[in-house]
Amino acid sequence: MNDEWEEVSKDMEVFTVTNKDTLINHNIRLLSTKEGYPRLFFADLETPVCADGECRLAKIKIYWNLLGNYVGYGIDPDEPLTKFEHDPFDKEDYAKLHALLLDDNSVLRNREMSELVDEVPVSISKADFGAVDGISSATKKEIKESVVQGGLYSCYTLWHLVHGEVKKNISAYLQSIYTDSLNNYLLYSDYEDYQYYGLKKLPKEAFEKHFEQVIRIFEKTQPLIRTYILKKIPNNILEDRNNTEQFYRLFSRTDINTKTQLVKKAGSAHLIALEILSGFSSEMTKNQLKLYLEIFNENPENLTPLIKSNLLEAARSEKYAYNYLIKEFLNNKE
């Protein structure tokens, strides 16, 4: 779990949500620092967990981050969660529950409670057909593997509480208290989801001002967010040599989809982009290389001596499967 809770000293009820299945109202609280900066959302829940007509009360404290993403939970040791036949959860069970709750796309997501009954093939929609391009016989196994053994109903109930209405409400609430400084807090935090949110909210024009942080995020983050950055970054930022260099020297360390985007952008970036890429040409896929070489067909003046000599080297590399394409390209240029 995030360690924000250490800074927390204020606690305020912000809204309630009603569980559609149980009709119970749950109070959602916002935890803030003593200066009043929001940090976490929190709920102290009691919810019945029912299986085969028998219900028990589960008591659990749930924490969400500011975006409504689940971060952790707490259980009173005297009131453990229970599974089939009222056995208490053991340590592994708690860890498994945590892993399940962290998965926003869990196999439980689109299931009705009634669809979880064992032995019956899992049908995921109102129609009476079984597997889908997306769901299959593998699913039942997947469900079994993702939940605590004997604790399917607890897991199901809690997953839907954590990922249901609350999330939407938190989103809406965050909007209502949104400020630029809150966005800066998110953008400069170490959490990927915060950074992503910060980037999404950041107007294109502000990229320049936050360039150092953008690059820092770009270097470490997941491919999806890298892709997002490269799409959003305004062209004028990459007209600057230093900025361009900072992106392109990371080429080798980025994922394959990001590499494609870097190559695609290179033609409109500072010339240094093409030079740096020439040193990495033997790391390109066939189509990336084709895209890269195409830039010189369109603008032959960009084929500097340095680029040419790097390309020659890649063409000579026996290990590079597409060296023949570079050879062809260079031959055509003679």
Binding site: I124, A131, V132, D133, G134, I256, T260, N287, K319, Y322
Partner: protein
């Protein structure tokens, strides 16, 4: 080349399909003499006995021809052989058009040799990257009849497009455009096929959509041609790809039950049972002329009306020109529309284009800026457990893709999409990437004691596609039509199955294998697709049915499943009937004959109870 904006065919892409293939004469070869030398060109796919090699016609538009492939799952396949006539004895140079399908720092996986009159030429082929003519050496031709064989050395997908024997040392061209011209001019192939046939309706692509269109039109008396590039009908639902059909029947239960599948896991061999049913039913219509193993390669429009579709037999090379007042594109890839100049789209639209946001999923669902992260293609596969231990060879060339991933079966989520790969232009690379994923993951699994008796039973060599070109109609079906349950005056297709849109796992976690995907589901009540999404906006006699219908990327998420695409086919078939009755184009069914059309469709419904 960027394609995700709606656009007409570009000159660039014209080159692909203009790459035409030689026409083969009855003897399955062409002999031609020039003043100086004798030359013989043999198309591998026309070999009389294909042995264990399979004909692969999937990538004609990119590499120029169907080819033979040694798909032996690691066990060398039986020789393919053919016999040819030589006019002149002497020494011939031998070139073979092939490729090393996994170039790299290892022995090429698909190696093979050529044998002439029982004597193997020493050069191992399939070793150069990219499709090219590899020199196999010389052979002395001493008799008029010569037997040529392909000798597979690995069982791992060696491929042979053509063999060229010549007394001259001049190598045939490698450049795809030059090669097409070379083939055409040297062989004196005419531009137009000599044979011409005329129908009421010409349907290209025999997936569920094409089959349903053919049946609906034929039931009402139309003379129909169904052109399909495989020996078996059904497309992704066929026993060659083995995806089972999902979705509801809508108004067309009777027709769709003739061609759909039972429920079974994707990849199951049970697909064979439904295959027999489907083939039998479609063949039972006397007025459906079935052209199995025929692949369309061109369609030409004049004044926005398609004049004809040209197709070629995938093995013999024979050609036919198909004429009709109206055409259906159910190729899945929108080929007919593309060739004819129909507007189409490719890729993911920006979220604002049609207002398709789903905040919970953000960029994974619909991006702020358009891009090419379409849903990927799959290759399904299965293993069996035998009583005895089974050996599987080392596959060092697969490691780069499979990494440490280990698996003994595939499923729908074995799926591949990458932003530098186009689902049509790079389909061969996508298929090959999946083969490496499969062979590599299975080889890893085989290292475990528990899998020692496992054997690869079946790996499809056909790539199962989800998303490629979408032809643009008068209505573009989008997520909004689902969310708002829009009821159209021309609602002819309906569905209740949730939308599912896939993304590659490695987008969120770079450590995941690049060949696995995840699905995002959006639950829905019944939604409708209008007839106006089933005919082209600018090509006035073109219908489309199947996953290349008029929709956005997210719009395709739900109705791409095959009972839904089947509904589209049936709806189009019935529309074609009224088009003939009134001698009008598809659009006029909507503008002038909607009532009658909707009644015809309603009457297809089984009576209540």
């Amino acid at each position: 080349m960027k394609e995700h904006y709606i656009m007409n065919r570009t000159n660039n892409s014209m080159a692909f399909y203009k790459a035409k293939k030689v026409m083969l004469l009855a003897m399955s070869l062409i002999i031609f003499s020039q003043a100086r030398a004798q030359q013989v060109l043999i198309e591998a796919e026309s070999f009389i006995d294909k042995g264990g090699w399979v004909v692969d016609p999937q990538f004609v538009e990119q590499m120029g021809s169907p080819y033979l492939m040694a798909h032996g799952l690691g066990v060398p396949v039986k020789n393919a052989s053919t016999e040819i006539q030589f006019k002149k004895k002497g020494t011939y140079h031998v070139w073979v058009r092939t490729k090393n399908w996994v170039p790299g720092d290892w022995e090429a996986p698909g190696r093979f040799r050529v044998m002439i009159n029982g004597k193997e030429l020493k050069t191992t082929l399939g070793t150069m990257p990219g499709w090219s003519w590899e020199y196999a050496g010389t052979t002395a031709v001493k008799s008029k009849k010569v037997e040529i064989e392909l000798v597979d050395l690995t069982g791992f997908n060696g491929r042979c497009d053509a063999i060229y024997l010549s007394q001259s040392e001049e190598q045939p061209p490698n450049d795809i455009k030059e090669l097409a011209v070379w083939r055409q001019t040297k062989l004196g192939e005419t531009t137009a096929p000599e044979k011409e046939e005329t129908y009421d309706l010409v349907i290209t692509g025999g997936g569920l959509a094409g089959c349903a269109a053919a049946i609906a039109a034929a039931e009402q008396g139309l003379k129909v041609a169904l052109i399909h590039d495989r020996p078996l009908l059904g497309g992704n639902a066929s026993s060659e790809i083995r995806v089972h059909t999902l979705g509801i029947y809508g108004k067309f239960e009777r027709i769709l039950k003739m061609i759909d599948t039972e429920h079974y896991p994707n990849g199951s061999s049970e697909a064979k049972i439904d295959q027999e049913k489907r083939d039998r039913n479609v063949k039972s219509f006397k007025n459906i002329s079935l052209f199995l193993n025929w692949r369309a390669y061109d369609a030409v429009a004049k004044d926005n009306l398609i004049q004809y579709v040209d197709a070629r037999h995938t093995a013999t090379g024979e050609r036919i020109r198909f004429k009709a007042p109206r055409f259906v594109d159910s190729t899945g890839d929108g080929w007919i529309g593309f060739w004819a100049g129909a507007e189409f789209s490719y890729g993911r639209e920006s979220v604002d284009t049609y207002g398709e946001a789903w905040d919970v999923w953000g960029e994974l669902w619909s991006p702020e800026e358009a891009d090419d992260f379409v849903m990927g293609s799959s290759v399904l596969w299965q293993t069996e457990v035998l009583k005895q231990p089974q050996i599987f060879p080392e596959v060092p060339w697969a490691r780069e893709v499979a990494g440490d991933h280990s698996a003994i079966a595939g499923e729908w989520y074995w799926e591949f999409s990458r932003n530098d790969l186009h689902q049509i232009h790079d389909a061969e690379e996508i298929r090959d990437h999946m083969l490496r994923a499969i062979f590599g993951s299975f080889a890893n699994a085989k290292k475990l004691e528990e899998n020692k008796n496992h054997k690869l039973q079946w790996v499809s060599y056909l790539v199962g596609k989800r998303e490629s070109r979408r032809l643009v109609g008068d209505h573009i079906f989008t997520f909004k039509d689902v969310q708002e349950y829009t009821k159209f005056p021309d609602s002819v297709v309906m569905e209740i199955r949730e939308i599912d849109v896939h993304f590659q796992r490695n987008l969120r976690d770079a450590s995941q294998p690049d060949f696995l995907s995840k699905a995002i589901f959006y639950k829905t009540d019944k939604y409708y697709i209008p007839y106006r999404s089933l005919y082209s906006k600018n090509i006035n006699n073109l219908f489309m049915a199947g996953r290349n219908f008029s929709c956005s990327h997210i719009g395709l998420g739900g109705p791409r499943v095959m009972r839904t695409t089947g509904q589209m086919g049936a709806a189009v078939g019935f529309a074609a009937v009224l088009c003939k009755k009134y001698n009008v184009n598809p659009r006029e069914i909507y503008t002038n004959h909607l009532k009658e059309y909707m009644e015809l469709i309603e009457s297809q419904q089984w009576p209540e109870n």
